[in-house]
Subunit: 352 residues, 2 copies
């Protein structure tokens, strides 16, 4: 069995018994019924995911996967490709939005080079980042497949392996990414799996103007025409119009689900990775928590497809796992509601 | 000068200079422009409130004001009045939703007896709660004023005094309340200040059925008819159709604003208190942060009136400051974005 096949074999749906037990307790807490709303739904999910009435959520790891994209040469982003590499340095130096919010969440931040355009050997040698380089950035998907099928498999398996590495120190995973141009493959992936038009699932990414947006849509449409990806072959979709960091995150989600660990899925690009993971093994969606509603319009189509509702809506469009770090607080809140709040009987409070 | 007059004299709007300085820095952070959305707006607000580029937000206090309501005798709630007192014990014993979420937020929780129907002297003697009892619960507002004008003034001044007491140990205040029946006075207050119909600003509170809701609306309409409160006399409104804990929270908000400290306003009842504080001194709204969108429909009318947008929308309807505790995380996030994230120049990242 390959690593992917092993993960699929391990993934089981949420425990219905644990869900029912959690719901029964939450029904009796000292508050009007279900007065903490979606946090209580999340508490039921956490119990179901971890098969526990005391879901462990203390140890949190945010994994930022970085990768470059051949399609960035077609002016789909506002920023030059070198920014991917520069931002990895910024993460290592603690200066990015991701650092501030992971720190606040009490999450360990791990940066993984999945295939930035040029090597970051100095940072790897210093133990500042992990390297699972699948290539020097993907090929230009507008002219052919972004990567080989073997590379697609390798990127997913790298994500699964990283989960194994982090599992002893992680109760809850968060996904993050960095890769100039990566809303472009994400929109392509979204169009493939949701069946929506490219224009309807393509947004402004880093903040491109109307003309650049029209170009971006045309590039994605061309990429889909050139590659003709088949939604029934998710690894093929990743190979044709994906990215190394997107494959890595799909693997991370599969790996977390296999170990029954909740994974907080950040914004649009992370959600595109979730689409691939879901297409490979639908039950892995049972372990996903959608962090926030992205400004990128394509994410709404993904979440509708995955039947997920985001927890935060603050106009975020940064990626880097920033939304996932913020949503960790709600995960902890949900777990505490299940484990720390007294029932009417326990507290001697009169019922309605 | 009375304490209220002193507070009003001290309240100044946000610092425009600090807002502009903060905005200028946030414009240059290593991310697409304003990519952390409303958290960046909040960072500007925090700078303006505290007149600082390093807004202090570490020390947090959640103040839960408890009080009973004469109108509770008219079956406006699903729970008996004794629950107010029982829940104060639950707070002290650490078993309420408020405890779990304040603990998660790292907030000190202070419970204040503003006028529960019967004394809680044992808890006061043990130093477990603070007592600023204005009375043994309010009078029934459907038959006359809920309290005297003097009691209204005293409840507000108690809130201002509590801020003075807590100021050395508090950077950010959160509001919370407990009082069976207190959505009823809150809806009355909302109708008075927003000019909306009682039916449009009255919800199901603890979860009453259709018949009870019709009764609740009739009770509020009768209370307004009997008392004829004048929105230009906010202390009079509080006296006629308010509550001791609502007055206390209005004072807390005024006191916090006077000391330029952010105050995170919880759900519907806290927002009704904010309406009174705003009517007394409109500039105090500059220091309010609306925590969450309550299930209680009247809150939307209040927030539109105060020009505030809530940060969380998770179907919460518990009160007790639970939403305020959750929103503290966003306050900290905003402060960290302002103080910890590098600019393009600082990080050596290429600009668009």
């Amino acid at each position: 069995m390959t690593l992917i096949e092993k993960a699929i074999a391990q993934i089981k749906p949420q425990s219905e018994t644990a869900r029912a037990t959690a719901k029964a307790r939450l029904d009796c807490l000292t508050m009007p019924h279900w007065a903490l709303g979606r946090l209580m739904d999340l508490a039921v999910d956490l119990a179901g995911m971890t098969d526990s009435m005391r879901p462990p959520v203390n140890k949190k790891t945010l994994v930022i996967m970085a990768g470059d994209h051949g399609v960035a040469s077609l002016a789909v982003s506002k920023y030059p490709q070198e920014v991917t590499r520069q931002m990895v340095h910024n993460f290592v130096n603690g200066g990015a939005g991701a650092n501030a919010l992971a720190k606040l969440a009490g999450a360990h931040l791990l940066v993984v080079d999945m295939g930035v355009a040029s090597e970051l050997s100095d940072l790897v040698a210093d133990g500042k980042i992990l390297a699972n380089r699948i290539g020097n950035g993907t090929a230009n998907m507008a002219e052919g497949p972004a990567m080989t099928r073997e590379q697609a498999v390798n990127s997913i398996e790298a994500g699964i392996e990283i989960v194994a590495l982090l599992a002893p120190s992680t109760d809850v995973f968060g996904t993050g990414e960095m890769g100039i141009g990566n809303t472009t493959p994400s929109s392509a992936i979204t169009a493939v799996f949701t069946g929506k038009s490219v224009a309807s699932v393509t947004g402004r990414g880093t903040g491109i103007e109307d003309g650049q947006l029209a170009n971006k849509i045309a590039v994605i449409e061309k990429s889909l025409k050139v590659n003709n990806p088949d939604p029934l072959d998710p690894i093929g979709v990743l190979a044709k119009v994906g990215g190394f960091e997107i494959g890595g995150l799909a693997g991370l989600i599969l790996g977390a689900a296999a170990l029954r660990k909740p994974v907080v899925v950040d914004g649009f690009i992370s959600s595109a990775a979730a689409l691939i993971a879901h297409a490979i093994c639908p039950s892995c969606a049972d372990f996903m928590i959608s962090a926030h509603k992205s400004v990128e319009q394509g994410q709404a189509a993904i979440l509708a497809h995955l039947k997920k509702e985001p927890f935060i809506d603050l106009g975020l469009r940064l990626g880097e796992g920033t939304g996932a770090s913020l949503a960790m607080n709600f995960v902890e809140a949900a777990a505490r509601i299940l484990t720390e709040v007294a029932t009417f009987d326990e507290a001697g409070v009169s019922k309605a």
